[in-house]
Amino acid sequence: MKKLNSKVSYKKIILPIAIIVVCFILGLIFPSLVYLFAAAGAYGTALMLGTLGEIITEKSGNMNLGVEGIMYMGGIFGLIAPNMYEMSVGEGNASPFLAIVFAILSAFAIGAFAGLLFSFITVTLRANQNVTGLAMTTFGTGVAKFVGELRRHKVGGYVTVSNDLKAAFDNKFMPDFLKRIPVIGRVLFDQSIFFYLSILLAIAVFLFLTKTKKGLYLRAVGESPVTADAAGINITLYKYLATIIGGGVSAIGGMVYTMTTAGCVWIEASLAGTGWLAVALVIFCSWHPIQATWSSVLFGALMIMYLRIIVPFFPQELYKILPYVVTVIVLVITSTRNIKDKQPPASLGVNYFREDR
């Protein structure tokens, strides 16, 4: 029996190690790849949070297609909070730590509100999840643009924060000697605090889903609400909470985007598509939070590849659509596979009515 177990884990360990070794060698040969992935960490973090949020939501069986709108709102609310805080205490007096906390809290709050709204309409009022998600996208992008514009009128110019705070948000705080490790150093240690927080969150979500009772219950709700209901689990509560927390986490992703990749400036159009990519990534990583980490960074790399790896005679505008083409291919490939443990939560997108059973 023990031998069998070790055989399984052997397979499980050897494959990732082989991949890491190959990547390492590739990185040594092509330094531009290292720069690419180091830079992809920032955008990848935003994607990762968006994806993690949606994984939490979808585990409850709610499919919130409004991630795009939620990340938009997170993007602006996460910027406005430090902006207001800085303006109220005066430039130079702002504590970077508090600014970051405010940014996170504010983005989370708006995302949680969106999750609450989504749950109310789909769980309590039992509306179609697909259309509600699309409405959330329209609503969220609308709110974000509106609030951003209002704030712009108020401050008279770009909504942004001081250079000190900008540096604080994008601070790559890991010690230099770690950054100097070949290949790995740049990719893993030359990242902002949000990168590490997101990875910690991914691990936390993974542990929560697999090791805790509440995580087990949440999965049960998403897999088979009838069963969960019969077991006395409060379906409504779990769906609401998961969607609210999921929305909040996704919104933080929007905040991370504005505060790192976009350089703490609100530019409406630049976030477009991120939320949708996050939804696609959930499928790509088959609802697994740990897989969400590396796949987000991979997609982050795809998004900025046109800047880093120049392909001669290939028009840049066509290069830019590469991630979307890859997404399409990924969608097709994932739809053809048939592994029992890699399927979406069985009740995904279907509302549960107790009296219908």
Partner: protein
């Protein structure tokens, strides 16, 4: 002991039938409710909501020019809502109308650009129409094909196709079709590639009105429309009835994409006179609101598309007059959709509120006995 017997405050029961008048009253009520919610952002922007709604209406309907511009906005919205209606009826969540419009526009523009002035106007316009329909149809067919064959998630697929189509336009704009080098602009088409006007608006409005009737007939009176409706209800039933589900899905996406492509053609040939990456400009998304708010009823779409066009156009005026960001239009259309989705609940379910029990619960809450009880529990 009797204390412990809790009675639910709200009881739900499925309605077996409902007066149609009441149904419409609920729907209209929910729209009014949405506009009341819509006052919140207006107030936030420091504008008087009633004045603002007044400006929205006067800014879109008070002058002939305004009306023309509003109608111009409504045309693609209505056309595109018609395009996605069969998909949504089939529960195929096509949110790629944006890309299908864009692709139709690209194909139509290709004909206009390559032919120059060589072909007489009616023939050229017709050729552009055909090209546009084909372009949109291809773009719709691809996700339809994969949905039918592998059950690939159509929502994300169609969406990604939007970005790809827009990317292609960006490439054409800055590359092969660029006018003056460095402008990133495709020059205006020659006169013979442009749609004629009727009553000061390009003839597209007549075309979409004809399309309303055609799509209505298609969805309600043809065999294909019946097939779409059956598939939307249950795939197994469709198979049982001998329908070729995969083909019907692909065909519906061809038709849907084709209609969207036709809208793209109208936009380049009529509204804009040229192609740019913003040709669809969010129409593909807003039209989802139009289609759903009208419950996939083609004639109701005329009304809803007009309302959204009025809000869209009027919010532009609102921005210049009162400095209220025009994105308030998106917020209102999102809220409208939320309310419309939510109100179906009240149409399908009867809710009875047990006020007596609610009173008891409130009394209980304010008696603060529960504090002692929970304290006891803790102690245990």
């Amino acid at each position: 002991m009797a204390d412990n017997v809790k009675v639910p405050i709200i009881k739900l029961a499925k309605r077996e039938s409902m007066d149609p008048k009441l149904i419409w009253a609920i729907r209209v009520g929910s729209i009014i409710f949405a506009f009341i919610i819509g006052m919140i952002p207006l107030l936030m922007a420091g504008a008087n909501p009633f004045t603002s709604y007044g400006i929205i209406i006067s800014g879109s309907l008070s002058k002939k020019l305004y009306i023309q511009q509003t109608v111009k906005r409504a045309i693609p919205l209505l056309g595109c809502a018609l395009a996605i209606a069969p998909c949504f009826k089939m529960k195929f969540w096509n949110i790629g109308a944006e890309g299908q419009i864009t692709m139709g526009a690209i194909f139509a523009s290709a004909i206009a650009i390559w032919s120059g002035t060589a072909i007489p106007r009616p023939i050229l316009i017709l050729l552009m129409l055909i090209a546009g329909v084909i372009g949109g149809a291809i773009w719709g067919f691809i996700p339809g094909f994969f949905k039918a064959k592998f059950n690939t998630n159509e929502t994300l697929f169609t969406l990604m196709m939007n970005y790809i189509a827009i990317g292609i336009v960006r490439y054409l704009q800055g590359g092969p079709w660029e006018g003056r080098p460095g402008t990133q602009i495709i020059p205006m088409f020659a006169k013979n590639a442009r749609l004629p006007n009727l009553f000061g608006i390009y003839i597209g409005w007549v075309i979409v009105l004809i399309m309303v009737v055609l799509v209505h007939i298609y969805m309600n009176f043809t065999k294909q429309g019946y097939e779409v409706a059956v598939i939307g209800d249950s795939l197994n039933t469709a198979r049982y009835a001998g329908m070729n589900v995969g083909w019907i899905m692909m065909r519906t996406m061809l038709i849907s994409g084709g209609i969207a492509g036709c809208v793209g053609w109208m936009l380049v040939s009529g509204a804009n006179g040229t192609l740019n990456s913003d040709v669809a400009g969010g129409v593909g998304f807003t039209s989802i609101t139009v289609a759903w708010l009208s419950q996939l009823n083609c004639f109701a779409m005329i009304l809803i598309a007009s309302i959204l066009a009025i809000i869209g156009k009027g919010s532009g005026t609102l921005q210049t007059r009162l400095n209220v960001p025009s994105s308030v239009a998106e917020i209102i259309s999102g809220v409208l959709l939320f309310c419309m989705l939510g109100c179906e609940f009240f149409i399908n379910y009867r809710m009875s509120i047990n006020f007596k029990q609610m009173g008891t619960n409130i009394k209980y809450f304010f008696s603060f006995q529960w504090i002692h009880k929970s304290a006891k529990k803790e102690a245990k």
